[in-house]
Assembly symmetry: C2
């Protein structure tokens, strides 16, 4: 799947009885020029376009990102921030996943082909068609750990389950095989 251009976007929209509007073109353009590792919320996209004096109403923003997500052009991210973020849905080999600090929301992008392979395998097994797969790794970042997590929470808080889960798994990583 090649990256979208205004022309191919128009073609795909028209094929489904939808239309290419200046608004949709501008939105696509923003995402195409977004530096790698960035993703925008509807609100952020809105104010970004506002700053460029290409204002688009918030409702159109919402309608467009939803449509473009359903078309497979954008990717809807559910990070731990209480609202959705969007980015270009880049096919393999640009496909990637996210590691998020649940304390400060810091996000790191990472690639891992085997995850996509595993997802595909699962889809084929069930007879479903893969649209996207997202691995979200919920973590505590080093800064948050240094800042005192988990003591930023009441007294001697700790997520004992997660900790012992981590310990159990170290042995698994050692034997790491990455076989599909």
């Amino acid at each position: 799947m090649p990256p979208y251009t205004a022309t191919s976007l128009k073609a795909e929209l028209n094929a489904r009885g939808w239309r290419l509007t200046p608004q949709r073109e501008k939105i696509l353009h923003v995402f195409q020029n977004l530096p790698r590792g960035n993703h925008l919320s509807a609100e952020e996209l809105y104010s970004l376009l506002e700053q460029r004096e290409e204002g688009i109403s918030l409702s159109t923003i919402y309608r467009s990102v939803k449509l473009m997500s359903r078309m497979g052009i954008l990717r809807e991210l559910e990070l731990a921030e209480g609202h959705k973020h969007y980015e270009l849905n880049q096919p393999y080999p640009h496909h990637h996943h996210h590691l998020v600090c649940i304390q400060c929301n810091k996000t790191i992008e990472f690639k891992n082909d085997s995850i996509l392979k595993q997802s595909l395998k699962q889809c084929e097994k069930e007879g479903f068609q893969l649209i996207d797969c997202q691995l979200t790794v919920m973590t505590i970042c080093p800064e948050a750990l240094r800042m005192g997590w988990p003591s930023t929470l009441p007294s001697n808080w700790s997520c004992t389950r997660a900790i012992s889960e981590g310990k159990t798994l170290k042995s698994l990583v050692a034997e790491d095989e990455d076989k599909e």
Copy 2:
């Protein structure tokens, strides 16, 4: 790691200056008796408890599932349904992931150890501490494909999988009560 009991829940709560209340105990109980592969939204949990005449206010539900998620007892799922779902956070080897139809929300649970391994590997590389990792595979189910996805869908169409999924809540209550 052993599953939580009312006693161990109390111990962990008290250790952090929190308290075991009948409400929290009932909520834990519901999740412990939930058939595998099921997860509840706050609203569903609320009406489930209401049907048993053990009513708990919605705000307490929200406060409790949030607290228990942060303690690592529950797992907060971001499926493609516009609201969060919760399930017991079962450590390896019961850890699992989800395949979701973005049209009808039909969800299939699947296990895959390599995903957990890859996540842990990534965490160690970045120096982050793993709390949880969730692979969500967004798909179109065979039925939605047959209906002509994506161009010919009526705006409010949902395939029969979604309908039968919706019906399960009642049967869950029945099953759960049998186990008491």
